[in-house]
Symmetry: D2
Subunit: 338 residues, 4 copies
Amino acid sequence: MIIVMRSDATESQVKNVIDTIDKLGFKSHLSKGEETTIIGVIGDERRVDASHFQLLPAVERVIPILKPYKLASRDFRKQDTVIRINGTNIGGTFFCVMAGPCAVESYEQTLSIAKKVKAAGASVLRGGAFKPRTSPYSFQGLGKEGLQILLSAKKETGLSIVTEVMAEDDIPIVSEVADIIQVGARNMQNFSLLDKLGRQKKPVLLKRGMMSTVEELLLSAEYILTRGNSSVILCERGIRTFERSTRNTLDISAVPVVKRFSHLPIIIDPSHAAGMSEYVMSLAIAGAAVGADGLIIEVHNQPEDALCDGQQSITPDRFAELMREVNGIVKIVGKNLN
Amino acid sequence: MIIVMRSDATESQVKNVIDTIDKLGFKSHLSKGEETTIIGVIGDERRVDASHFQLLPAVERVIPILKPYKLASRDFRKQDTVIRINGTNIGGTFFCVMAGPCAVESYEQTLSIAKKVKAAGASVLRGGAFKPRTSPYSFQGLGKEGLQILLSAKKETGLSIVTEVMAEDDIPIVSEVADIIQVGARNMQNFSLLDKLGRQKKPVLLKRGMMSTVEELLLSAEYILTRGNSSVILCERGIRTFERSTRNTLDISAVPVVKRFSHLPIIIDPSHAAGMSEYVMSLAIAGAAVGADGLIIEVHNQPEDALCDGQQSITPDRFAELMREVNGIVKIVGKNLN
Amino acid sequence: MIIVMRSDATESQVKNVIDTIDKLGFKSHLSKGEETTIIGVIGDERRVDASHFQLLPAVERVIPILKPYKLASRDFRKQDTVIRINGTNIGGTFFCVMAGPCAVESYEQTLSIAKKVKAAGASVLRGGAFKPRTSPYSFQGLGKEGLQILLSAKKETGLSIVTEVMAEDDIPIVSEVADIIQVGARNMQNFSLLDKLGRQKKPVLLKRGMMSTVEELLLSAEYILTRGNSSVILCERGIRTFERSTRNTLDISAVPVVKRFSHLPIIIDPSHAAGMSEYVMSLAIAGAAVGADGLIIEVHNQPEDALCDGQQSITPDRFAELMREVNGIVKIVGKNLN
Amino acid sequence: MIIVMRSDATESQVKNVIDTIDKLGFKSHLSKGEETTIIGVIGDERRVDASHFQLLPAVERVIPILKPYKLASRDFRKQDTVIRINGTNIGGTFFCVMAGPCAVESYEQTLSIAKKVKAAGASVLRGGAFKPRTSPYSFQGLGKEGLQILLSAKKETGLSIVTEVMAEDDIPIVSEVADIIQVGARNMQNFSLLDKLGRQKKPVLLKRGMMSTVEELLLSAEYILTRGNSSVILCERGIRTFERSTRNTLDISAVPVVKRFSHLPIIIDPSHAAGMSEYVMSLAIAGAAVGADGLIIEVHNQPEDALCDGQQSITPDRFAELMREVNGIVKIVGKNLN
C-alpha cells in the first residue's frame, strides 16, 4: 500500500502516519519527492482497510498495490486449473461447450434439444429450473419439476448438467441433479450464497455481474475458494454499458485479463451478451478465438415459443453450424474440443 | 407493444404476425408507413414476452409501450405513499434522516453515535450487523451480536432501527430488531430474498443496485409489493460509471424520475455515492434540495478507526452541521423534518 | 510516479528500472515489500510518459502520483478564480445564471426570450448560432445571421452573450459577438480548437464531454490556460451512463470534486443533463444547493415549436419560478446572485 | 414515429396531436389500446424533430421508428462497399491490415518499422504526425515534418499511408501524403471537420468515439457521405466503461451490428482498445474471427522508448507472429488477406 501525502503535509503529520503504520504491525518506508511525500506500507495489505490511512490528517490518497485476491491468483497457482466432470475437462488446453434452453419447459422440449446439442458436440446441457427474472410477472421456471426433467435428460443422453441456484436453501436439491451449479450474474455478489457454495463440493459456474469488474469477479471466486471449494469456472456474459444495439456489451478482453491474473478457467456466454440470436454465432467464434475455455449457448427448438429469452436462442441447426466453425478456430488457437 | 416489420416484409409475413397476436389473445392494429409497416398489439402486454414476436420472420424489432411495473406506479396510486414507523413519517411532505455507523462495532461505539445523531435530528439509527463485503478478507460484521447491540441502542435512545439482511434465513432474527429491513445494492435483484421480504410485514429499504436502472429498481419493488408488503422505501446510492473521482456517481435525477413514475418514497445515501467524507455534506444538501424524502448517512465517532467504510463516514460534529444546512433547504422545498 | 515490479522480478531487472530512471534525469527510491518491490520516481513526472517504465521487463504497473494538470489546480492557485464580464462575476461567492434558447431562430424569438430571462434574473443570454447536431439532417443553426441576432439582443437588453464556436476559422466572427465563447461537449477534446481559444482573450465556457472524466475536463482547461487565456469556466452537463430515464446523468458530485482540485468556476447545465423539461427545475435547485457557481438553462417561449432541443426547454414563466427557488437556495449556501 | 399518449389523455388532446401531425405534412394513424392510445406518424420522420410532438399536452413519449441514417444504411445499399486504395481492397471478402508506430518519430524509426510490417503482411502504414493528446504536456507529434517522413516511407516501401488530421486547415497538406485520412475518436463528432472531409475525395478512416454508440458512428459517417465522399471506413477501437483492467473495452459486437445495418467496411484497433501490448494479439485474433474487414495495429521497434503509447505497441517480431495467426483465422471465416 502506498500513502500519498498532501503537498502541504507537515513533518508531524507525516510522523503520525508512520506511527499508525507501526501500530498496525506493518513496516513503513518514507520517500520524499519534489512535490509530494510518499510512504510505503510493507506487509500483507489485505488484512487492513485503506480507510485507516485515508482518514489521517494530510493524507491525499492511499493506493493498494497487491491484488486483493490470493487463492484465485496466478501467483498462487502458476498452472491452469482444469476441472474434470464426468470425463469432460474444463480449463487448460481443453475447450468445452455447454448448450441448451434458457429455461426447462417440458420433458419433450428438454430431451429433444439435449439430443441435438449432444450430436453437434456439446458436452454439458444447460437449462434453468429456477429463473431469476427482472419482472415478477415473467415466467419464473418450473422449479423442482424442472430439476427432475434435467435429471431424466441426463440419464437419457449422458450429458452433464449445469443449472442455476437462486436460494441458499435450494442448494441440496440442485446438487442432486447438477454437475455444475450456476450462480447468475445478479447473484455474483450474493455473498451468503457464495459462502454456502464454497462449503459444498460441486463445481460452480460463476457468471460475471453485468456491472462488476474482473477484479470483483475474482474476489467473488475467492469467497468460494476460501471456503474450500476449488472448482470455480468463471463466465463472461456481457457487461452493461451505454451501447444499446446489443443487450449487453461482451467484454471479450476479460478472457486474456483473467488468463494473466488467474489460473481459473473462463468461458463465454455469447447469448446473454448479444441478446439477439443473429449475433450469437459471430460472438461465439470470437470467444473461441480469443482463448476462452469454452462457451455456454442458449439453444431452443422453437425460439419463437420459448418461455424465456427466445430472442437470443438459436436453433439446433444453427448450433450445429456454429460448432463446425468453432471447431476450426479452436484448433488454430491450440485447444481441443472435449 | 409495437411490432416494427423489416422494410422488405411480405404480405404473408405481416399476416403471420397478426395471426400470432390473435392466437395469444391480443388484438392487432395495422399501420402501413412509407418505408415500414407497424403492428400494434392491444391488451395487457405485461403477460407476454417480446420474444414471441421478435423471432417471427421479417420482424425488425418489438417496442414495449407500457411500464412493466404496476403496483409501484403512479398510475396505480396517485398520492404519495407515506410510511409511518414509531411516529416517524417517510414520504409525502416529510423528510426523514437515518444516520449511524457503517457497521456495528461495539455497544459503546453504537450508543455514543446513536445519542449524537439523535441530538442532531436523526430519527432512525442505521448500523450493519451483517455486512456484504466485496472481499472475503474484509470485516463481515458482528452478526447476531450486532443485532443485540442495535436493540440496546434502540431501547436507550428511542431511535428506530434500519439494518441490512443478507440471507433469507436471517429475516426472522433481523425482524426482531429492525423497524426497517435494508436490502443492499448488491442484493437488489436477489429475487428469492425480495420474495421473502414481500411475505412479511416490516418496511423494506431497497437500495438501488449500482448497475440497475430506475425501472429495474421499481421492478424489484414490485416483487415486494406483489407479495403483499406495501411498505417499500427506495434509496439512490450512486451508480457505477466511468468516473472515478467519487466511488460511485450519485444519480440525483433518479429522485424526480421516481417521483414522476411512482408513489413510493425515495431517500438519498450520499455516503456510499461519494465514498469520501469530504463530499458527503454537499451531496446531502443537494439531495434535500432535489426533493428526496430523506437521507441515510454514515456517521462514526472515529472514522479513522472504523472497521468498515471509514473513508466515507463523517464525525458527529460534522453531521450536526450538515443537519443545520439540510434543515434550511428542506423548508424551502416545502418539506418538514421529522 | 510509482513503479510496481512483478513478484518474480530479478535483481538485475530491478537495477535496469533504476538505471532507466537515472538516464531520464529522475531520482529513484527503492522499497522492498514482502511480496513485491516498489520503486519511486522522484521529479516532475508530467514530463515523462508512464510507458517508458511500463514496458521494461518485470514491471507490473506504473502509478502516476501527481495530478497531470498544473495551472488548473488548486495547488497552483489557492483562491477561487472570479471572472468578470460586463459587471457580472462568475466564481467565488457569486452565482451567475445564463439562459436562453437552444438555437437562435429569429430576431423576435431571441429578443422576446432575452427580455424575459433578464427580467427573471439572468445576466447572460445563451443561444446557438452554430449548432453541433448528431444527425446531418437536423437544423444546423442560422450561422452568421444568428450571430447578428445575438448582437442585436445584446444591444437591446444589455445581457452578456455566450454562444458556441464549432470551427477554428469561426473564432474571429464569434468573438465579435460573444462575451463568453462556448466549447460544446463533443469538442471538449478538439485540441486544435482549444489551442486557438487559448491564444485569444475572450473567456471560454468549456462543457464537459459526455464521457470525459473530471480530470480530463481539467486537462482540456489546461490546454487553454497554458496558451495564456486564464478565463475558463467549466460546465457539468451530464455524462453518459447506462441509465436512460434521463438523456444524460447529471454528475452533481463533479462540483465538489472540481472545487477541491481546481480554482476554476464551474456551472451546471440541467437542461442537457435531464433532456426533459420536467426535470430541469429540480436539477437546477440541486445544482444551486451543491455549490455550483451558476446555471445555464434552455428557455424557449414556445418549446413545442423550437427548432432544436425543445424537449428540454422550459417556458419563461417556469424559468421565473425556478429563479425564485434558486434565489432562496443560493443564500443558504452562502452565495450571491449576480 | 410513434406517439404514446398518457393514460389520462382527453379526446381533445389526442385530436391536437393529430392536427399537429397534419400541419407538419405527415399522415397520422390512431390506435386505441386498453391502457393507452398510440398515434403513428406516417412519412419521412428524419425531417422532423421528436420534440415537436413530445411537448404537446398529454404526450407520454415519442418513439422513432426509422434508422436516422440513410446513405450509410444496408437498406440504401445491399452489397458491401469495397474501397480500393493502390491495389488494396477494404471491405467485402477482403481483409486489410494497417500497422505502424503510434507517432512518427524519425525517418529511421518509421522506415525501419514500415519495412518490417510490410514483410509481415501489412498493406497500409499507420503513423501519426499530428497527435491528439489528453494532456498539453505530452508529445504532440512532429507535424509537417512527420508528414514528409511518411511520404518518404511510402516511396521506399510502396505501402499506402493512413494518418490523422486534427484541424480543418490541415486537410490539404495531409491529403498530399495520406491515402486514407484518419479522424480520431475524440473528433468523431467534430462536425465541421466531417463536413470538410465529405467535400474532398480521399477515403476517411472514422474511429468510433469512446463515448459514441454505433448509431452515432453511422450518423457521423452519414455527414461525410451526404457531402459526396462515399469512401468511409469505420473503426471500432474500444469504448469507455467502468472496467479498468484494459484502457477501453473493445466492443467486438460492433462488427456484426455494423454488418447488419450498414454496407460500410469496419476494422478493429486492438491496440487502443487494450492499451497494453500483452492483450493485443488475442484481441486482434478475435477481431479477425468476428468478421471485421481488417485491423489497425501499433507496432514499434522499441516500444519502451516510444514517444507515444508505447505501452500498447507490439514489436515487429510479435507483429509477424500475430499475422501468422490472423492469416489462419481469416481463411476460416471466408476472407482473403490483401
